[in-house]
């Protein structure tokens, strides 16, 4: 068991590997939102990655080796919720770790952790009354992108919208293509860059047509894809994580 357990924490936060490398702001912003809500939080120091890049490429061995490190870091003997600011990583831990660790000494712990992980927006959606009392406010026109694993594996669709709607002045627009894949697909984005970018473009065309200021999503992978393409094209739409938008609205 790691020695850095936050004894007073109410929730743990798993920043994910994309969070550690390119999207550090996401976990920081998630913490700011939790702070505003008065929810104690703690980041276990030894987490790495959930193993998804290898798992979804069919390489279960490497996936298991990496996921095991994160499993050990998260399995602190508590039953605190583990918040993950990524639908995709949540779905990996919650739904696929059991299969990945089936028949290994970690099987039991994997089941334990699977029960504890929560996708961030679905956790925040349980605190919308408290959020409203904090009077978050931001005058922006927002579109939401449903990330695939969050929508179709975790079946979370309304929660992030409920959270966004606590923000005064925020206008939430339903995009026609909100449920269509952005083209990231993990290793797919590198294997087939042209197809991947073309997929992003159809989403971006839709955002531009809907005249939104900000695209919000709950998956750093999708955001990396969409923000990266929009940056290259000079598209005047920001792509941010829900945690970032909420932190800005609460600031």
């Amino acid at each position: 068991m790691p020695d850095d357990v936050g004894m007073t924490a109410a929730v743990q936060l798993f920043p994910t590997c994309i969070g550690d490398v390119v999207a550090q702001q996401t976990a920081t912003d998630a913490e700011r939102v939790l702070d505003a809500l008065g929810i104690d939080h703690h980041r276990p120091s030894a987490t790495t990655c959930c193993g998804q890049p290898a798992y979804n490429s069919g390489h279960d061995g490497p996936a298991r080796a990496v996921a095991k490190a994160t499993l050990k870091a998260l399995d602190d003997g508590s039953d605190l919720p583990i918040l993950v600011p990524s639908g995709s990583c949540t779905s990996m831990v919650r739904l696929h770790w059991r299969e990945l660790f089936h028949g290994t000494p970690e099987a039991e712990a994997a089941t334990r952790i699977a029960r504890r992980v929560r996708e961030l927006s679905s956790y925040l959606a349980e605190h919308t009354d408290a959020l409203r009392e904090l009077k978050p406010s931001l005058a922006v026109r927002v579109g939401y992108h449903d990330s695939c694993h969050m929508l179709r594996e975790l079946r979370i669709k309304e929660a992030p919208r409920e959270v966004l709607q606590t923000v005064a002045g925020l206008e939430l627009v339903e995009l026609d293509s909100s449920e269509r894949c952005c083209g990231f697909g993990g290793t797919f984005s590198g294997r087939y860059p042209d197809v991947s970018v073309a997929m992003a473009d159809t989403k971006i065309d839709d955002m531009v047509a809907a005249k939104i200021d900000v695209l919000v999503s709950s998956d750093p992978g999708c955001l990396m894809q969409l923000a990266g393409r929009m940056s290259r094209q000079g598209t005047p739409v920001r792509a941010v994580h829900l945690a970032t938008l909420m932190a800005e609205a609460l600031a």
Partner: protein, 482 residues
Amino acid sequence: MSATREDVGGTPLPPGWAKPAHQPDAFELTTTTFAERAAKTMARPFARGAIANATDHAAALTTARFVGTDHEALREEARKIRAHAIANLPDYLDQWIDQAERKGTIVHYAADESEARRIVAQICTDQQITRVVKSKSMASEEVSLNSALEAVGVDIYETDLGEFVVQAMGDRPGHVIAPILHRTKDEVHELFSAMAGHELPNEAEALTAFAREGLRHAFLTADAGISGGNFLIAETGDVLLVTNEGNGRLTTSLPPIHIALVGIEKVLPRRRDLAVLLPLLTGHGTGQQITTYVSVSAGPRRQGEPDGPEQMHVVLLDAGRSALLGGEFEEALHCIRCGACQNVCPVYRQVGGHAYGWVYGGPIGAVLTPLFRGQEEAGELAQATTLCGACDDVCPVKIPLHDLLLNLRRRSDAEGHVPRHEQVAFALWAQVWSRPLLYRASTAVARGSLRALARNGVVSAKSPLLRRWTAGRDLVVGKRPR
């Protein structure tokens, strides 16, 4: 061929109108990569737009069709029927054969593609068949049937309007339901005008009329009709065929011989199962309540019937299907070829059916092709998806396509079909990221390098490691200036 045979109505098509059929080994799968094939379609902006529009349209019609009904319960019922039929496939096939033979159907058995070609060519030779009308059949595409018939001197007329265009162009169908989804009216206009020898009006109606006249003549003179089959009904020995144009029924009614080539997995236990499967096939295929024509036949014309073929042959096709029984890919056999997964697939939407290199495109193509053609030749297709799961949610018989694709990736890994550099990369990755200290060091290095590369929080340099990302995208690592 006597002069009177030709003098029947309709207008004969000019000699040589059809391009030579594709040879069995001529699939692009063997010579090109997915990315290369995808690039071809993506280089044609109209084709991309047309594919996107047509698939969005079809997907919307499907959604609308089931509003106000318990769609989920219907899909679950269909899943059970298909799973039961496939789990008991030998018994139901046995029953179907008994019933079909009792009604005078001549049943043939094709263990593989080449045997299917041989059987149908042999029937044509034996029965002196020189002209065949064909109703759309994906099974015949699988076995490259047309080339085998050409080799024994048979003229083939594909009678589905889309397939007719495909045949005249020497193309391949781009979608299981809508074969020329990727073609424009202008292309068809140019093609048909050249066939007619004069400029036709550039309108769908006139172009359709031209095809109808040519094919009407073929229907009235053909020696045999060749079709596929959408279902086989075990309890009655029926072969079921759905079409909208009516070409399926004319193919199986007018010529003196009907030959159907049908995959063994198409079997259903009972006619009443059609009450569940038929609305799902048509609702998910075209969004229709029912297709215009549903034809259910068992055996040749009987005494006292005014029309119909004197012989009915059914060629049962295995060609890789039985090998899937009882294994982790068995559910791929539940497929009823409705095309719904193609219509919702965000990858198919960009690249179209040809990118998949063989007969079936989209998610089911990415599953069936590696299973039927082998991992070596087609394993790559399972990588050509983002695993977004939209196909799972739309499949009328609830095939877990996402899981099957993932299992194919696993199989690639287990059987050593993964490129060496990828294996090394993941092994190295696991070595580093399974150790929190090394992980922290590596992410710190990555962050530092990205910061060094970044200008205003954005990495766009085409450095070798990031090349495949930064060719079309930036990497946004800080707050982007507003």
